[in-house]
Symmetry: C2
Subunit: 230 residues, 2 copies
């Protein structure tokens, strides 16, 4: 059959590209929490007018990684230990739900995709590319959300992901050492392939606990850190 699956072509608006650029800058920590985004300066740097830039910023405000105060400016969100803890506890609940929904829908394509993403994480780990390591680990984790066949759940996860990626990036940036080379995802993947759903859910919970443990103690340390301005 000549039936090819074409994915939708890329958004060719400046707005979409600006959103991607800004998001990346925030999630990798290039833009620090609390920092103000000067519209004129950024628009000149990007060789773009302020209109699409402002529209892009509105999107990121709604996405939850920017915050806007009328006539004062738009800022990268501040990260508090409470924020991380909130995201963390919600994540646990959502994980359990996502696994429950994904469970009966697992098939060979799911397992293949699981392996593929796992491999991508391992590769990033080998390359000592911490930023990409965070990104790919979240993508591995996100598979259960993509597979759960619930659009609202997926959206919720994607919003959460933005923040988590930002938190982890900040954490990594703070302690300059490389992340553990040991593969902490091995068990997670194998449990998702297994037959005991409860076990998978339980592990996901503990798995998350592990990841967040350090993150939280780190965040509690920098509490009341002054926001850096431009």
């Amino acid at each position: 059959m000549g039936k090819a699956d074409f994915s939708p072509i890329a958004d060719t608006t400046r707005r979409a590209e600006i959103v991607a650029l800004l998001r990346r800058a925030i999630l990798t920590g290039q833009l620090e929490p609390g920092q103000k985004l000067n519209e004129l300066r950024i628009s000149e740097q990007m060789r773009v007018s302020r209109a699409p830039l402002r529209e892009a910023m509105r999107e990121l405000v709604q996405e939850g990684i920017l915050t806007s105060i009328p006539y004062a400016g738009t800022f990268v969100i501040d990260v508090t230990a409470k924020d991380i803890d909130d995201a963390y506890s919600l994540n646990k609940v959502l994980d359990e739900f996502a696994i429950e929904r994904t469970w009966p829908l697992r098939n060979q394509r799911f397992f293949d995709e699981l392996d593929r993403r796992h491999e991508t994480v391992k590769q990033a780990t080998r390359n000592r590319d911490t930023t990409r390591q965070i990104e790919t680990a979240l993508q591995l984790h996100g598979l259960i959300y993509e597979w759960a066949d619930n659009s609202v759940l997926l959206e919720t996860w994607q919003r959460l992901t933005s923040r988590l990626q930002m938190y982890f990036a900040l954490h990594q940036q703070a302690r300059k050492e490389a992340v553990p080379a040991a593969d902490i995802h091995e068990i997670y993947v194998s449990l998702l392939k297994g037959t005991d759903m409860r076990a998978a859910q339980r592990h996901a919970r503990e798995h998350i606990d592990l990841d967040f443990e350090e993150l939280l103690s780190y965040a509690r340390g920098l509490e009341q850190r002054p926001s850096k301005g431009a």
Copy 2:
């Protein structure tokens, strides 16, 4: 003491007002699902330029009640039975979590607020104001989210609320009869005041089931309904 608590003053930007206007129009069903929003026409009607209107629309796109296709237009989201079912099942999980978190934080102020909102619903019911009835019922329901002391959870709920309100409004609009005068929230409120958390969670689940039951059958009926254009 002359120490007054001042809440932040209202956003006085056109953008914010436009967002409120558009959201209301969508959530009350004035703008139908699938309908296209003509920027020029709306901006002229509101006596506003397209810039703030477009920024407002970006916000609502991210809020999930509008969808944008580059160079084609921005449309009110289409409502499918699956969407409602997805929102419904996630809502159940979130409710359980919200109740769990709110439970130890309940105090007199909580109970008072609960009664206040309950009273507001009853008043809207007496006045046969169905739109307000939906709105107030969701606000009553939202108290456990506001009280749970988890900002991420609250945000998630607020996004979900937008859709739910839209769904219920559509439903109401379809079947023109008035909503049941019987007070279905009575038990919910009393259980939240009680001592059996599990019972409250269980009831919330069933309570939601009741509300959604009709909504779902209605939505399944209008599946493949053609989207109405401008």
